[in-house]
């Protein structure tokens, strides 16, 4: 079994924290893992992505081939669409529905969301609103991780919750619990949709 995941967003939105939690859980589960990241100039407010590959067999390429990603997890709706050619026929898109507009020619929001909704398998939510509502405004990325959890499959939701504990342990119990709560809200939202 393998799971190819593209994480995307805008530089500074925190996609690498999501990758760190999934990576921690995958390592604990004894899976093979490769995770290609973007460092350098793009991190200054540009589009960023990370290719995360999990498998119980040896993984060769650090990059995911076109048409074979099982999952796109995006902190931003237009950035989710950017990697569409990488999505497999049965792949799922899990994304924030709130645009991050830092460019003058950002597409019309309604048209953008309509294109997103025309895809066969999409889970979307205003994760920033959800994070604020649960009292953890910095936890939007954990809401998103919760939304993605059922589709990650190769690692269970409980394993991801445990990994959140290990990754955020040095920030204290309160942060761990707040992030787990955010994760659970995302998970519940995904189960409903």
């Amino acid at each position: 079994m393998k799971k190819d995941i593209i994480l995307s967003g805008v530089g500074g939105q925190g996609i690498l924290s999501i990758a760190t939690v999934i990576g921690e859980a995958a390592t604990a589960a004894g899976l093979f893992l490769k995770q290609a990241e973007v460092h350098g100039m793009s991190q200054r407010g540009g589009d960023v992505q990370s290719n995360l590959r999990l498998s119980n067999e040896v993984i060769y390429s650090d990059l995911i081939p076109v048409g074979s990603a099982d999952l796109i997890i995006s902190m931003e709706p237009m950035e989710a669409l950017r990697y569409l050619p990488y999505l497999s026929r049965n792949g799922r898109v899990v994304t924030s529905s709130r645009p991050f507009v830092n460019i003058p020619d950002y597409p019309d929001k309604d048209v953008l969301l309509a294109e997103l909704d025309s895809l066969p398998d999409v889970v979307r939510l205003d994760i920033e609103e959800a994070a604020r509502a649960c009292g953890n405004p910095k936890g939007a990325n954990m809401v998103l991780l919760g939304m993605a959890a059922p589709a990650i499959g190769i690692i269970g939701a409980d394993e991801l919750r445990e990994a959140i504990g290990r990754v955020f342990a040095r920030k204290g119990d309160a942060i761990v619990e707040a992030n787990r709560k955010a994760f659970d809200i995302g998970l519940a939202a995904a189960m409903k949709s």
Binding site: F32, A36, V38, H39, G40, G67, S88, L119
Partner: protein
């Protein structure tokens, strides 16, 4: 202690070097090489690791440490090889004592660079071996071997990485650490490259070549696998993409150590009817294989457009070259706009460009020559301020040359770290020539582009400019804030009106490091 760790390619190199008994790393920050030195700075306080002023000072200091008998690592991005080339090429002629490994991180596709030059050409030119790992485990293992091989051969080893390996994580099995070498300085005259000695040393270097070739033929990192009728040579991470494609009818030669294993290539050619060369970067191996096998043997690769002539390898372009059809389910989205990187909100460079654009609009002939750093983003909207960006330090010297030709006003914008890297010497030329230029040293107190490393000249810029001979009344310091716009524009105007060398230093801390310092 042997353990399994999840590491970036760069971190695997750093840890391998530490476990090989490294005594010092010498480096200037540059994507995608920066994390090697940062890892050593964080994990090994006993190893010398402070950032150097540029790649040439780094290479020379590392050669000095090697002379003293200890193991040294030099790290840079590919274009850094141009800066240290003099020392690098000559270090092959002097030879080395303690193991000396030069890590060059190439950036095919120019993710964060201004060209995609291939560092393997430098190794050919200098006649030194290249180690090019295919994955994170090999990066860890091969850097350890590189130090031993460097000492065995008495030569520096070029360790070639590419962006996708440098910045990708995977689990790495580590081994036992060995201790540092004892101080044991070289005592022979081979280090004094006077012509008579250099000629002898050069012959020694030539004499070492057959042993380098023999090592390439024998290493477990260069292996022949499969029995198919199509021949493939895959270098470094190219190997992963060939394996990913999963084709069965090929015989595959993996190459991770150079000079090219000629006997293995001839064996491959004899077994197969053609050879496809899969290498990230420029067609170094493709050219070498063509030369080795002669014009009659079909060799394909980037030169024959079987693979794209430019840009990095991907699993997709390699699969296509191997004849595997793509399985694309979705086309590109309709509602998509490019999102280029931009200067951070509140960044002082923004205020510098706002002021410069305002004043430059008053002078129809004005040109602003840019340099390498975050502030290169001033070339993009909304500022669109820059006429050029070529290499580290070129803002000052290009402004000088343009001013010599009569262009006026000629303005240079350079960052603090880039100024000490390669801008200072050009400023001395301008002072000696009394060139009519206005230099803006936009000082954010850090090397920001690569993530906020210490900058070599912090708190020394006024003294450096005065020491180089800029008139004291034409070294001006301002604080780049919107509230100070009237003062900044007035000072820029005054210094443009002065017919000689002026330096304006807008100084305010980088927003990224400020946020980190506040935590």
């Amino acid at each position: 202690m042997s353990e399994k760790r999840l590491l970036l390619g760069d971190e695997a190199v750093a840890l391998g070097a530490l476990h090989a008994g490294l005594s010092g790393v010498y480096a200037y920050p540059g994507t995608p090489s920066t994390e090697v030195t940062e890892f050593i700075q964080t994990h090994a306080p006993e190893v010398r690791s402070r950032w150097c002023t540029n790649e040439k000072t780094a290479m020379e200091a590392a050669l000095g440490m090697s002379y003293a008998g200890k193991r040294a690592l030099v790290c840079m991005k590919h274009v850094g090889m141009n800066v240290c080339a003099d020392a690098f090429v000559n270090s092959a002629v002097t030879g080395v004592k303690g193991g000396l490994v030069v890590l060059a991180a190439d950036d095919p596709s120019m993710h964060s660079s201004q060209n995609e030059q291939d560092s393997r050409f430098y190794a050919q030119f200098a006649m030194v071996p290249v180690f090019e790992p295919s994955d994170q485990q090999e990066a860890y293992d091969m850097i350890r071997e590189a130090f031993a091989f460097s000492e065995e051969m008495g030569l520096p080893v070029l360790f070639r990485m590419v962006t996708r390996l440098a910045h990708s994580r995977a689990a790495v099995q580590t081994g036992e650490a060995t201790g540092q070498n004892a101080l044991d300085p070289a005592a022979d005259r081979g280090w004094v490259l006077l012509p008579a000695i250099a000629r002898r040393q050069y012959l020694k270097l030539i004499d070492k070549q057959p042993r380098l070739l023999e090592a390439s033929e024998g290493t477990p990192h260069n292996i022949l696998e499969g029995t198919g009728s199509r021949g493939v040579i895959a270098c470094g991470i190219g190997y992963n993409y060939v394996k990913e494609a999963g084709v069965q009818d090929i015989t595959l030669l993996k190459v991770s150590q150079y000079p090219l294993p000629e006997a293995q290539i001839k064996a491959l050619a004899a077994r197969c009817s053609s050879i496809l060369v899969v290498e990230d970067g420029q067609p170094v191996v493709e050219q070498g294989v063509k030369a080795l096998l002669g014009a009659g043997y079909p060799v394909e690769g980037r030169l024959t457009h079987k693979l794209p002539r430019t840009g990095e390898l991907t699993p997709d372009n390699v699969a296509a070259a191997l004849g595997v059809p793509a399985s694309r389910a979705f086309g590109s989205a309709q509602n998509l706009a490019p999102r280029p990187p931009q200067l951070c909100p509140g960044c002082g460079h923004r205020d510098v460009y706002a002021a410069l654009n305002q004043v430059a609009a008053e002078y129809p002939g004005a040109r602003i020559f840019g340099d390498i750093g975050c502030y290169t983003l001033g070339a993009l909207p909304p500022f669109s301020a820059l006429a050029s960006c070529v290499d580290m330090g070129a803002s000052i010297t290009m402004a000088k040359g343009a001013a010599d030709a009569g262009l006026c006003p000629a303005i240079a914008v350079i960052g603090d770290s880039t100024f000490t890297h390669s801008g200072m010497t050009g400023l001395l030329d301008a002072v000696n020539d009394k060139s009519n230029i206005t230099v803006i040293i936009s000082d954010n107190l850090t090397t920001a582009m690569t993530g906020g490393q210490d900058s070599a000249g912090t708190s020394k810029f006024e003294a450096i400019c005065l020491g180089l001979g800029v008139e004291p009344e034409h070294v001006r310091v301002v604080v780049p804030l919107p509230a100070n716009m009237p003062e900044i524009t007035r000072i820029i105007r005054e210094e443009i009106e002065y017919k000689g060398v002026s330096v304006i230093i807008p100084r305010r801390e980088c927003m990224q490091t400020l946020r980190r310092h506040k935590k």
